[in-house]
């Protein structure tokens, strides 16, 4: 009888405790947020390119001009430490894959009035794929960006197949580029 009276309060306390443990253990929720564009057409954009890329790609990069090519769209900022971590990885995979048809494009975002810092970052890592800037963060809002770095893998049909939050790794690049080029 006594146990029966305690049963409901014990169940309620147990359920609340389990909820608390679940909340504490589930980690950063932002990592779980999927892009609304997953499986959908990537939003287009047009941006000014940094001067070193003008000779090869022109002063403006227009996403629509490269329709039909798989793309790796990487958002970065010169103040973002994980971006320094991933920049050499991106350059290495661009070097390996640039003749395969895939196009890498970098977007310096969320860094209004820091155009020069962007140039320093690019020259520090010798990034040879086209990089431009989004001073007003308009492109990053259009792409539903949460933070930097974030990388979108877009297939040849223009559909987003993956959004990766955080620095890219060689394993991820291997896996995604192979999938995109199949």
């Amino acid at each position: 009888m006594r146990l029966q009276r305690l049963l409901i309060p014990l169940l309620v306390v147990g359920a609340l405790g389990a909820l608390l443990v679940f909340g504490l253990l589930r980690g950063a929720p932002d990592k779980d947020i999927e892009s609304v564009y997953l499986g959908q057409s990537a939003p287009g954009f047009s941006m000014e390119l940094y001067e070193p890329y003008h000779s090869e790609y022109g002063p403006t990069f227009d996403f629509a001009e490269y329709a039909g090519r798989p793309m790796v769209v990487n958002f970065w900022a010169s103040w973002c430490l994980p971006c320094y971590q991933e920049a050499p990885v991106l350059q290495e995979y661009w070097r390996q894959y640039q003749d395969s048809g895939v196009l890498f494009v970098g977007i310096h975002t969320q860094n209004r009035d820091h155009h020069a810092d962007g140039l320093t970052f690019l020259s520090q890592f010798g990034l040879s794929f086209p990089n431009g800037y989004d001073p007003s963060s308009e492109i990053s809002i259009d792409w539903g960006l949460y933070g930097v770095p974030e990388t979108f893998f877009v297939d040849a049909d223009g559909r987003v197949i993956l959004k990766h939050i955080g620095p890219v790794t060689p394993e991820l690049m291997d896996q995604q580029l192979k999938a995109m080029l199949q």
């Binding site: 609304v36 969320q110 860094n111 209004r112 963060s137 990053s140 259009d142 539903g144 933070g147």
Partner: protein, 169 residues
């Protein structure tokens, strides 16, 4: 006298223009304040994407500033609050809204507090009724128990009360 008359008309005109300009300035300033208030009202409903538990209204992050600019531009273009919220929702999904939308699984967030409140009030009412009923129930005591109570109260334990029922208090 003639000079005064001659000057009266230009002076009045200058005064009228000054007043009109002042009123226009006040009106423009009031419009600006009103627009800014509306921007922050809408921004308060949106989550800052790069922040932790902060609204677009509260954050000074570059992306939050840009989102406020977009809200302002869209308000100037005559878009409604619902249209502006939908603009961000199509880019970020429901996650961007600090208040979950009243549909689908999100209804749980709106209904659960109401359900829990109703259940809690019902439990309190039921318990209160049970306590009241119990407290009104006549106490049944054996003659030995009555004798013990009487002796503890300093009364004659052998005296027999008239049998009665009722509240114990």
């Amino acid at each position: 006298m003639t000079l005064t008359r001659r000057l009266r008309a230009p002076a009045l005109l200058t005064l009228a223009v000054t007043l009109a300009l002042a009123l226009l300035g006040v009106w423009a300033s009031a419009q600006e304040v009103q627009l800014e208030t509306r921007v922050f009202e809408i921004a308060r409903q949106l989550r800052c994407p790069t922040c932790v538990s902060e609204s677009v209204s509260d954050s000074s992050a570059p992306i939050a500033q840009q989102m406020r600019e977009i809200i302002q531009d869209q308000l100037v273009q005559g878009r409604s609050e619902a249209e502006i919220l939908a603009y961000f929702q199509t880019r970020y999904g429901d996650w961007i809204l600090l208040d979950p939308p009243k549909r689908g699984i999100h209804l749980v967030a709106w209904l659960l507090p109401i359900i829990v409140g109703v259940v809690a009030v019902s439990v309190v009412v039921l318990l209160a009724r049970r306590w009241l009923t119990n407290s009104r129930r006549p106490v049944e005591a054996t003659p030995e128990e009555l004798a013990r109570v009487r002796s503890e109260l300093g009364l004659d334990p052998t005296q027999v009360d008239e049998p009665r029922t009722g509240r114990t208090d």
